[in-house]
C-alpha cells in the first residue's frame, strides 16, 4: 500500500491545518501534541484520530474549570494559553508550559471574555469503543 492509502496522511494534513488556524502559538503546539496523543491512542485508525482532533477544543465556563486542564482564555483583547495552576477567589492562574520560565498569568473572572479548554475525553466522547486510555512503553 502507499502512504496515501493508509490515512496516516490525514494526521499530517491536520497538523498542517492547526498551524494555519487562528490560535496562539502555545495553543497550536498543545493542539498538535494532543493530536499526536490521539494518534498514539488509536494508531490503527489515523483517520479517526484526525476526525476526533477537530473536537479537542471546546468552550467552557469559569465555574467548570479544573486544575491541570489546558485552557485558552481571551481577556481584555489578549489570549493566554496554558495549564491551570490555581483557581482562587474568582481568579485563575494559567501557567505557560511552553515558555522557558513557565510564566504564570493571573486572570480575574470578571475580565474573561471566552474560555476554551482541551477536552481530554474527546476520544471517549466520540468513539468510546476505541478508548482504552492505556499507556504504552515503546519509544
Amino acid at each position: 500500500m502507499t502512504y496515501q492509502e493508509s490515512d496516516v496522511v490525514d494526521i499530517v494534513d491536520r497538523v498542517d491545518g492547526i498551524l494555519d488556524e487562528d490560535h496562539s502559538p502555545e495553543l497550536k503546539l498543545q493542539l498538535i501534541q494532543e493530536t499526536i496523543n490521539l494518534y498514539h491512542k488509536v494508531p490503527l485508525y489515523p483517520g479517526i484520530a484526525e476526525m476526533v482532533s477537530h473536537n479537542l477544543l471546546e468552550e467552557t465556563s469559569f465555574d467548570e474549570l479544573n486544575l491541570e486542564e489546558y485552557v485558552s482564555i481571551s481577556s481584555n483583547g489578549e489570549v493566554h494559553s496554558g495549564v491551570i495552576n490555581e483557581i482562587d477567589n474568582g481568579e485563575i492562574h494559567v501557567k505557560n508550559i511552553y515558555s522557558e520560565d513557565n510564566k504564570i498569568v493571573r486572570i480575574s473572572k470578571s475580565d474573561i471574555d471566552q474560555i476554551r479548554k482541551i477536552n481530554e475525553e474527546a476520544l471517549a466522547d466520540d468513539w468510546p469503543e476505541l478508548d482504552f486510555s492505556e499507556e504504552t512503553t515503546s519509544q
Partner: protein
C-alpha cells in the same frame, strides 16, 4: 413449543435462539429449503425471515418467547433469485461479494451458499471481515467448508484462518491481501466453489486499493455488487462486464451501531478464549513474525538494564529491550554507532494478539501474550490451542486483549 401454520408465500420473522422443525410442507430459511422433518437453528441475536414455499406448518422451539412477526412480503429481492438460479446452472469457481457496511453481505453470502448446496456437496466461504467476523476469530480472515444449509455462517466453524492481527485491513494491507490469496488456494483444493464475503470498506484511497487488490488476487468469475444505487460502480471499472452482477440491498437490512459491533467482536473472542490455558513457547524454535524482536542478530551492549539487544538489517538499526531509562547521552552514542535505535520496555508485549501459523502461513488459532522472557527467549501466551509451540510461526498483531478476550487497546505496527 409453538406451531405456526403458513399459507403458501407467507413470510414470518423469527428471532433466535430458536429451533425450527418442519412438520408439513416446504419452507425457505436464508436460501435453505427445508421439508418435512428437517430442522434448523436460529442463533442468538439473529432475526431471520422464514418463507413458505407451499402451505406448511412448523414447530418452533424458542427460548425468548418473542412473538413471530408476519410480514406482508418477501424480504429476499427477486434479483437475488435470478442470480442464484444462474449460478446453480453454471456454478462459479470464485464469487467476490462487495457491499457497503450494513448492506447485508453476510446474509447474502449465506443465502447464495445455501442455494449452491442444492447443486454441490460443499461450498467454501471466506469471511474477510476482520472485526465482526462470522468465520474465525477477530483479527483473522476465516475459511469454512459448508456442507449442510445453515442459517448463520458463525454456526459452521472454520477450517483454517489467516492472521492479520487488526480489526481493519487499513495498516495491514499486505498480510490481508496475501491472506485472501492463500486461503483461496486452500479452498479450491477442497471445494469447487468459493464465496468471498468482504469488508464494507469500499470508499477512499484505501477502500479502492483493497477492493482492487482482491479482484486482482482472486480473478473472480463473478463480482457481485450488493448496492442500493450505484455506490460500488467505481470498484469495477476494470472488471469485464460479463463478470459483474448487480443485486439489490434488502430493505429489511438493519444497521449495527458501533457499540454493538464491539460487543459482537468481544463475544466472539470471549467464546473462543473461554477454555484458554497459559503455555510457554521456546522462541529459539518458533519464529516470530511481523515484529523486529527475535529477527536480528544478537548484540552485546555494555549498558545497564539491557535484557536483549539485536542488530537489525541495514537502516533498521538496533532493537534494545531494557528495563531502565537510557539518558540522552547514551541514546546519542548508540545512534552514532548503530543508526536507528528502537527501544522497548519489558511488559509492552502483554496483551498483544498473536496468531499461530504453519510454514505456509496458514493459521490454526490465536492467543494473547502474557509475557516474553527476553533473556531465555520464551513467550507465555493464553490460547485454547493445545500445543501452540508446535507451530512454525508466532505472528504478532496490533490489537490487545485480556486473557479472557476483552478488547484492551492497540499496538502501533512496527513498535517492537
Amino acid at each position: 413449543m409453538n406451531t405456526i401454520t403458513f399459507e403458501e408465500k407467507d413470510v414470518y420473522l423469527l428471532s433466535g435462539p430458536a429451533t425450527i422443525e418442519v412438520d408439513d410442507g416446504e419452507i425457505d430459511v436464508v436460501g435453505a429449503r427445508l421439508q418435512n422433518g428437517d430442522k434448523i437453528d436460529i442463533p442468538t441475536g439473529k432475526t431471520l425471515p422464514v418463507e413458505a414455499l407451499s402451505a406448511s406448518s412448523i414447530n418452533l422451539h424458542q427460548e425468548n418467547g418473542e412473538e413471530p412477526e408476519k410480514l406482508g412480503e418477501r424480504t429476499i429481492p427477486d434479483d437475488w433469485d435470478e442470480l442464484v438460479n444462474e449460478m446453480k446452472q453454471n456454478p462459479p469457481e470464485v464469487v467476490l461479494m462487495l457491499g457497503e457496511m450494513d448492506s447485508g453481505k453476510t446474509f447474502f453470502s449465506t443465502y447464495v451458499t445455501n442455494q449452491l448446496l442444492e447443486v454441490d456437496d460443499s461450498v467454501s466461504v471466506m469471511d474477510c471481515d476482520l472485526g465482526q467476523t462470522d468465520i474465525g476469530t477477530p483479527g483473522t480472515v476465516g475459511l469454512a467448508t459448508v456442507e449442510t444449509p445453515t442459517t448463520a455462517l458463525d454456526n459452521v466453524g472454520w477450517d483454517v484462518l489467516s492472521f492479520v492481527g487488526s480489526h481493519s485491513p487499513g495498516l495491514h494491507m499486505v498480510p490481508f491481501l496475501s491472506s485472501i490469496r492463500s486461503l483461496a488456494d486452500h479452498a479450491l483444493e477442497h471445494t469447487d466453489s468459493l464465496m468471498v464475503d468482504t469488508t464494507g470498506w469500499v470508499q477512499g484511497d484505501g477502500g479502492r486499493a483493497v477492493k482492487q487488490g482482491k479482484i486482482d488476487m482472486l480473478d473472480p468469475d463473478y463480482v457481485v455488487l450488493l448496492q442500493k444505487d450505484r455506490e460500488l460502480e467505481h470498484l469495477v471499472k476494470t472488471v469485464p462486464d460479463d463478470r459483474i452482477r448487480r443485486v439489490t440491498v434488502s430493505d429489511k437490512v438493519q444497521a449495527t451501531p458501533p457499540s454493538e459491533r464491539q460487543s459482537l467482536r468481544e463475544r466472539n473472542m470471549k467464546q473462543y478464549m473461554k477454555d484458554a490455558k497459559q503455555h510457554t513457547i521456546n522462541l529459539r524454535e518458533t519464529a516470530t513474525e511481523r515484529i523486529f524482536f527475535n529477527t536480528g542478530e544478537p548484540l552485546e551492549l555494555d549498558q545497564p538494564g539491557v535484557l536483549r539487544a539485536e542488530n537489525l538489517s541495514g537502516f533498521e538499526g538496533i532493537l534494545v529491550i531494557k528495563d531502565t531509562d537510557f539518558n540522552s547521552e547514551v541514546m546519542r552514542e548508540l545512534a552514532e554507532e548503530y543508526g536507528n535505535v528502537r527501544t522497548v520496555e519489558p511488559g509492552f508485549e502483554k496483551g498483544i494478539l498473536v496468531g499461530f501459523a504453519d510454514d505456509r502461513n496458514r493459521c490454526y488459532g490465536v492467543g494473547v501474550v502474557e509475557e516474553i522472557d527476553y533473556e531465555d527467549l520464551t513467550i507465555s501466551v493464553h490460547t485454547p490451542l493445545e500445543n501452540p509451540g508446535d507451530f512454525a510461526r508466532v505472528q504478532f498483531g496490533s490489537l490487545r486483549y485480556t486473557p479472557t478476550g476483552e478488547e484492551h487497546g492497540f499496538v502501533e505496527p512496527g513498535s517492537m
